[in-house]
């Protein structure tokens, strides 16, 4: 999805004609079967989520299942005022802060690693597989290892030290993979032209590469933020005494049986949607600006 996001207009550019299905005239029967499958998939993907958004707007009589009992914002108020549901506001603040820090580090480190991996160097395969390992390792095991490591070193586990590192071990491989896809579409001629015009390495990065790769960097940021904001398994043993939001949700799934849980789901999904919308909007805006500039 990274590649497609990074430069939407030409991501599937080779697909000029749809040869399997005739590009004109009647559709083959497989089109209808697969269209039905696709529709079913999208409904199953979004349907359940919309159920809990709807159910979170019940009034005080509300339960965990349909039918809907009244309409109010009761459970949203309940969420942020009741002690029973835990420190939702605090964990929400922490998660946002942590996600912002993780995003910043992920963008910078992934960008640099993307530059580094353009050419082969001795030992690059080791770094590459270290990254893949970090991606596929069971999160809970890695989290426990990090927790034990901090314990052994006499350090206190907290959300801005051990959990930050544990989350980076998850967001960075994704960020670098997105960078790979973005870099593979970068035309090296531009960079060489900058050198020919006397640019230093830093100038060529700042004045040529970063502006050209901007949409890709926004995509990396989107991955960094959302993966951190929703990260659970790796944070569980590393967040210390103060919870992040997914940990709060986790403890709520185990002991809260009221629509507060759904209200929290609605709130956190709204935040996700804002971030996704802002990122995609920015990418589209950059592309549009470019399109008009190259025409004008």
């Amino acid at each position: 999805m990274s590649a497609v996001l990074a430069d939407m207009p030409d991501a599937v550019a080779p697909a000029t004609t749809k040869a399997i299905a005739p590009s004109k005239g009647g559709r083959p029967w497989t089109f209808y079967v697969l269209a039905a499958l696709f529709t079913f998939y999208v409904l199953a993907l979004y349907g359940p989520m919309f159920c809990i958004y709807v159910l979170s707007f019940q009034d005080i009589r509300g339960g965990l299942v349909f039918p809907m009992k009244g309409q109010s914002l009761h459970w949203f108020v309940d969420l942020f005022t009741q002690v029973r549901t835990g420190d939702v506001k605090g964990s929400f603040d922490r998660s946002i802060k942590l996600a912002v820090i993780v995003t910043g580090i992920t963008v910078v480190v992934s960008f640099l690693a993307g530059l580094g991996f353009r050419k082969r160097f001795r030992g690059d395969t080791v770094v590459f597989y270290m990254m893949i390992g970090s991606l596929v390792a069971p999160g809970l095991v890695l989290g426990l290892g990090t927790g034990l490591l901090f314990q052994a070193l006499g350090l206190n586990a907290s959300w801005y030290t051990s959990a930050l590192g544990a989350q980076l071990s998850w967001t960075l491989p994704f960020g670098v993979l997105v960078m790979f896809a973005v870099m593979s579409r970068f035309n090296h001629v531009w960079e060489e032209a900058a050198y020919d015009l006397g640019a230093s390495r830093w100038q060529s990065i700042r004045l040529v590469m970063i502006p050209v790769l901007a949409p890709g960097l926004v995509a990396v940021a989107l991955f960094g933020f959302t993966l951190s904001y929703d990260e659970f398994a790796r944070s569980l043993q590393t967040a210390g005494s103060l919870n992040t939001l997914p940990l709060e949700i986790w403890s709520m799934t185990l002991n809260v049986t009221s629509p507060s849980l759904y209200a929290l789901g609605t709130v956190t999904t709204i935040v996700s949607f804002i971030v996704i919308g802002a990122s995609l909007g920015t990418i589209v805006l950059i592309q549009k600006k470019r399109g008009s500039r190259s025409k004008g």
């Binding site: 590009s23 497989t30 499958l37 290892g145």
Partner: protein, 296 residues
């Protein structure tokens, strides 16, 4: 992106530059991926006083305990069952959704839009998406209500929620996207001229699928498989919540062990799981050069 063979005798200067660029990545991955895994490995050889205290030393007692327990076999069988079922369903749905988007949707922009529609939930909370099945699958959930209303069943089906079925549904719901994206990427790169040539040569659409589309999507399938298998095998919260405590997997047992401070047994089981995972992933990697695939 793909280094040409002419570059391969790398000079020490470009080696240094490469390492400089990836050094921030390495500086995160060593303390937060390599070191924690080594800590877990070390802990698996330690003795314990049973109260969370670890005695440094070298004993294989934990491994003997894990390997002799009848529970271990049961846990692995359960984990493998979930992994295989999830893999089959995500592969079938993912393959055909990608196929539909690449070969059946004629409008380019529409295809990208529909693709993004599939990816948006990836950037939202997994836990929330999981609990959103409760109002649907529960004993008084929508599906039971509908089936009762239609008179198909007389009593609510209890197997829908808090069962192995619910676990597999939640996995497929969360992980199909990991199949769609890489398969979509592989398929979008298939040169449509190839397919036209096949049609001109008299190939049926089934032949094209069998002889062109499936072989050329193999790397995408391999990549998706790595994601799905490693996530299901490393998961514990879907199993714990969606089975209602009725089922367990290797990592959920690990979680229970950690909960009662049985670190060495937990660590030994984690090491075994990691070995199994490494074996599976390297088997898959033998069929596809993942690095070339990603950086192409």
């Amino acid at each position: 992106m793909q280094p040409s063979p002419a570059q391969s005798p790398t000079s020490s200067r470009s080696n240094l530059a490469g390492w400089l660029y990836v050094s921030p990545l390495v500086l995160v991955l060593v303390p937060f991926f390599v070191a924690p895994m080594l800590v877990v490995l070390a802990a698996s050889f330690f003795a314990t006083d049973g109260f969370g205290g670890l005695t440094p030393g070298f004993t294989l007692a934990s491994y003997v305990e894990v390997l002799h327990s009848a529970l271990t076999l049961k846990l692995y069988l359960a984990t493998i069952k979930f992994t295989v079922l999830t893999w089959i369903f995500t592969l079938i749905i993912g393959f055909f959704v990608a196929y539909f988007l690449v070969f059946h949707v004629r409008n380019q922009l529409l295809a990208i839009g529909l693709f993004l529609l599939c990816t948006v939930p990836f950037w939202t909370s997994n836990i929330i998406r999981m609990i959103s099945w409760i109002p649907l699958l529960g004993k008084e959930g929508l599906i039971n209500q509908a089936l009762l209303g239609m008179g198909v069943i007389r009593q609510p089906l209890e197997v829908l929620l808090f069962s192995d079925l619910a676990v597999v549904i939640a996995y497929v719901h969360q992980l199909t996207i990991f199949m769609i994206v890489p398969i979509f990427n592989s398929m979008a790169r298939i040169d449509k001229k190839l397919i036209e040539a096949a049609i001109d040569a008299g190939a049926s659409r089934f032949d094209i699928m069998r002889l062109i589309v499936v072989p050329m999507s193999k790397s995408g399938i391999a990549l998706g498989t790595i994601f799905v298998v490693s996530i299901v095998m490393g998961d514990f919260f879907v199993v714990k919540v969606m089975s209602g405590g009725g089922s367990a997997s290797v990592v959920s047992a690990f979680y229970e062990d950690v909960g009662v401070l049985q670190y060495p047994t937990a660590a030994a089981s984690a090491v075994l799981l990691t070995l199994v995972l490494v074996a599976i992933v390297s088997l898959i990697l033998r069929t596809v050069d993942i690095r070339q695939e990603i950086t192409r």
